[in-house]
């Protein structure tokens, strides 16, 4: 896979930490390979929306890549619940179903961006850079700053 210039957290220059949520093991593996080619670190995976919420609480990743169509709880609902609890959460929806209503619903409920499958690495890379532009407000960075104060 093509290698990209690493996207790092600007606060501490550490790799961006990802939570990958998709009911397909295959899709999770593919996305993991992609974000690793961006210099990122996959800190957790989840196969449904319910697990995504608990994993977010546990790991507070910098970015969540979230599928929409999943068993138990769909991605848009999970994104909404995560953002209610963690307003700074950066969630990028990754779904093969990319119609306008879905995109609007996801953005209205707190997702930062949307990318349609099949995902092109160069497209996801640009989205990650865009979503991380405000990374001074990252939950990890903010927590570290607060602890040091």
């Amino acid at each position: 896979m093509e290698q990209f210039a690493p996207v790092k957290r600007s606060g501490d220059n550490q790799p961006v930490r990802y939570l990958i949520v998709d009911d397909s093991v295959f899709a999770r593996k593919n996305l993991s390979k992609m974000v690793e080619s961006f210099g990122g670190q996959v800190v957790g995976e989840a196969g449904d929306g319910v697990t995504a919420i608990t994993e977010y609480d546990r790991l507070t990743p910098d970015i969540v890549l979230m599928d929409i169509t999943m068993p138990q709880m769909e991605g848009i609902e999970a994104a909404e619940k995560i953002v209610q609890q963690h307003p700074a959460a950066r969630i990028v929806m990754v779904s093969s179903v990319g119609y306008q209503e879905n995109i609007v619903a996801a953005l209205q409920r707190g997702a930062r961006h949307f990318v349609q499958k099949p995902v092109k690495p160069e497209v996801l890379y640009e989205i990650i850079k865009y979503v991380m532009r405000d990374d001074q407000a990252s939950p990890q960075t903010a927590g570290a700053a607060g602890a040091g104060a």
Partner: protein, 164 residues
């Protein structure tokens, strides 16, 4: 079944397979299937509900499925590897999701259910109101089939008629 329902699946399969395999895909034929569907290799089934309802079976012969999965995973897999079945499900999800996106933007509203492995040797027969169309694609990795059995939901037909 109207061509307006089939065309997005043709276009989407063509685009997704060509992108995933980085090579051209050709559409061999398109036939009506009145018999129970016979699985050719490793198959995934996706159900739709809403204005249009039914199911689509995405089916790749075992060699093609293993070859796709290995290509997409970037590692040599064996046909018994669960990842091959996962790859077939994910390809079905992408092709059908992209087609549904186009249909939704044309005004059809429906829900896509997560794909599942289609394990039985035979699928259900098509019926008077749910015709099945089989699309056959040739790729550099082998043959791929899609059995599309969809129908307009009765309520949607009545609403469309009332709107005229």
């Amino acid at each position: 079944m109207r061509m307006e329902l089939i065309q997005p699946f043709l276009n989407s399969a063509d685009a997704v397979l060509a992108q995933g395999l980085e090579s051209a895909v050709t559409i061999d034929n398109l036939t009506m299937d009145e018999q129970a569907y016979r699985r050719k290799g490793i198959a995934a089934e996706v159900s739709l509900s809403g204005d249009v309802e039914g199911r689509i079976i995405f089916d790749a012969d075992e060699k093609a499925a293993t070859s796709f999965a290995s290509r997409l995973a970037g590692a040599e897999l064996s046909s018994t590897d669960d990842l091959v079945r996962e790859a077939v499900c994910e390809l079905a999800n992408q092709i059908i999701g992209n087609a549904v996106t186009v249909l939704n933007d044309q005004g059809f509203h429906f829900r896509v259910h997560p794909p599942s492995i289609h394990t039985s040797e035979q699928g259900s027969k098509s019926s008077e109101d749910t015709e099945a169309v089989v699309l056959c694609f040739s790729t550099v990795r082998g043959k791929v089939y899609m059995n599309v059995a969809l129908r307009y939901h009765q309520r949607s037909l009545e609403q469309a008629a009332a709107g005229r």
